[in-house]
Symmetry: C2
Amino acid sequence: MALGMRIDCLQYCNWSETIFQQLRQGGVDAIHVTIAYHETFHDTVRNITAWNRLFERFPDMIFQGFTGDDVRKARETNRTAVFFGFQNPSPIEDDVFLVEILHRLGVRFMQLSYNNQSLLATGCYEANDPGITRMGKQVIAEMNRVGMVVDMSHSAERSTLEAIDLSERPIAITHANPNFWAPALRNKSDEVLKALAGRGGMIGFSIYPHHLLNKSDCTLESFCQMVADTADMIGVEHIGMGSDLCQDHADSEVEWMRNGRWTKAIDYGEGSASAAGFPDMPSWFRDNRDWDNVENGLLSVGFSNDDVASIMGNNWLRFFDENFSPTTS
Amino acid sequence: MALGMRIDCLQYCNWSETIFQQLRQGGVDAIHVTIAYHETFHDTVRNITAWNRLFERFPDMIFQGFTGDDVRKARETNRTAVFFGFQNPSPIEDDVFLVEILHRLGVRFMQLSYNNQSLLATGCYEANDPGITRMGKQVIAEMNRVGMVVDMSHSAERSTLEAIDLSERPIAITHANPNFWAPALRNKSDEVLKALAGRGGMIGFSIYPHHLLNKSDCTLESFCQMVADTADMIGVEHIGMGSDLCQDHADSEVEWMRNGRWTKAIDYGEGSASAAGFPDMPSWFRDNRDWDNVENGLLSVGFSNDDVASIMGNNWLRFFDENFSPTTS
């Protein structure tokens, strides 16, 4: 049984009735779902209409979340609130005014860059990171105004530090791990994690194998000890879950995530030519039915019940309450 | 002083600080504004972002309205609530799922056709009216579901009667007059008006000269007697205002309204080659500062204070309360 709210702050699945049933079986009150990697504005709207069809078809299991109160409503009605986010700013194209439009449509997180340079910031796979761009500064201010959270999960170091500093509201790294535990371009330095927490931000821990120590063979104990070590470093109130669960997709989907329309040559991202597809999940987290394992693992490394409740969802709920509404009404 | 709420259920002006000041001087609590004639979805979103810039720039005079309660909020805070609508279904393109997206963005009225045949219905200038199309039936059902009002102001007779019948929620003719008073293709037959009211619908009376008896020379007395005669025919609870005020536009704007991108030859619509531009407004209604004239005119033809309050805005407020929300939550 969940000790508090259960919120997973990033999933990107091939959504189906089966997965929604698993979310209910796992007691997940809210998920942040990716609805755009490389999509234009109109492509993104079509992805929202696809979600609207799911909301209409499965109203007993899911509904769209807009505010923290929707997480409470989900808990009260035994459903999962679904919050939209982008892993790339491509949906706003070159138009800062689309931030408000997309916030109105329920988008609550936007990464300023996804692996590559964007109009706003640099991604973690670029050789050079010149920091937040002129348009990036404008977009951060607009996101702050309307209540859309800056997410730097796939961004490069300097851009991330500058975003933390420039943003007047706390930002998030919705799905990544500390690189003191698992060195990877996608994982984050101590400096980033401390700066993030210093400004009230949150990190969601990823269970995507490429972000784990020993990848698919990572043990639950090692993962939970990493959570404990991160809590010691930046405070338990700044950490949560962001599993990066990519369930039931064909391997072709990871090609879209990595290559979009920006390259003709195949880019393998965190994979390789010999392991191009989705990696196997660790045995202790196959899908949303396994959140009890994580909760028990956190208790085993010495967290109190209250701390586990905070990490499993209560921290994200506080963050949602504080960061999804406009600064002015 | 206004006897009740003041709502004008259609305006299409070249919006400016001056016009917003005039709305306040005229005590107008809410307006329904046209944000699309022939625009595509993306064009329409850009028009919404243009309004968002106005809302951010003039927060002391205007804000976006979504529900009837926003009209009450406008009255309490001495502002005007602005509700969005389309005169044509072009913004949904061929995609019924865009109805829900645009409702989320605040669109509350959509005409099923504008003068010409559309994908949904026939316009009042077509020679033949085959009625509501296959897609039209789907879109009406979706508009009913989400809470977007079917508006048949510019539609042809058969399509209008069928829309009234097919729609499970009341529909509106936001801006037109009865053709028993002023024969014009845009004005409505007794049969349409009776059917509209019989299903709980509303008509907003137009002050656009092409819809008036004697056009720009129409007298206030004649206009108000027409209102009284219509009330006698269909009931005072089904009538309101829909001035069709098109203030401060260059004549080129009426070309866009009439011609869009659908014709290379110039179509003069209600005008003519010798009078192609916007007609002069009648002397008793230059702009929003003159609503007191209309209110006094209605009192002069024998309406009670309560009836005048109903016609000037309370009827529309009841209609907004009942028709802007989804049928299911």
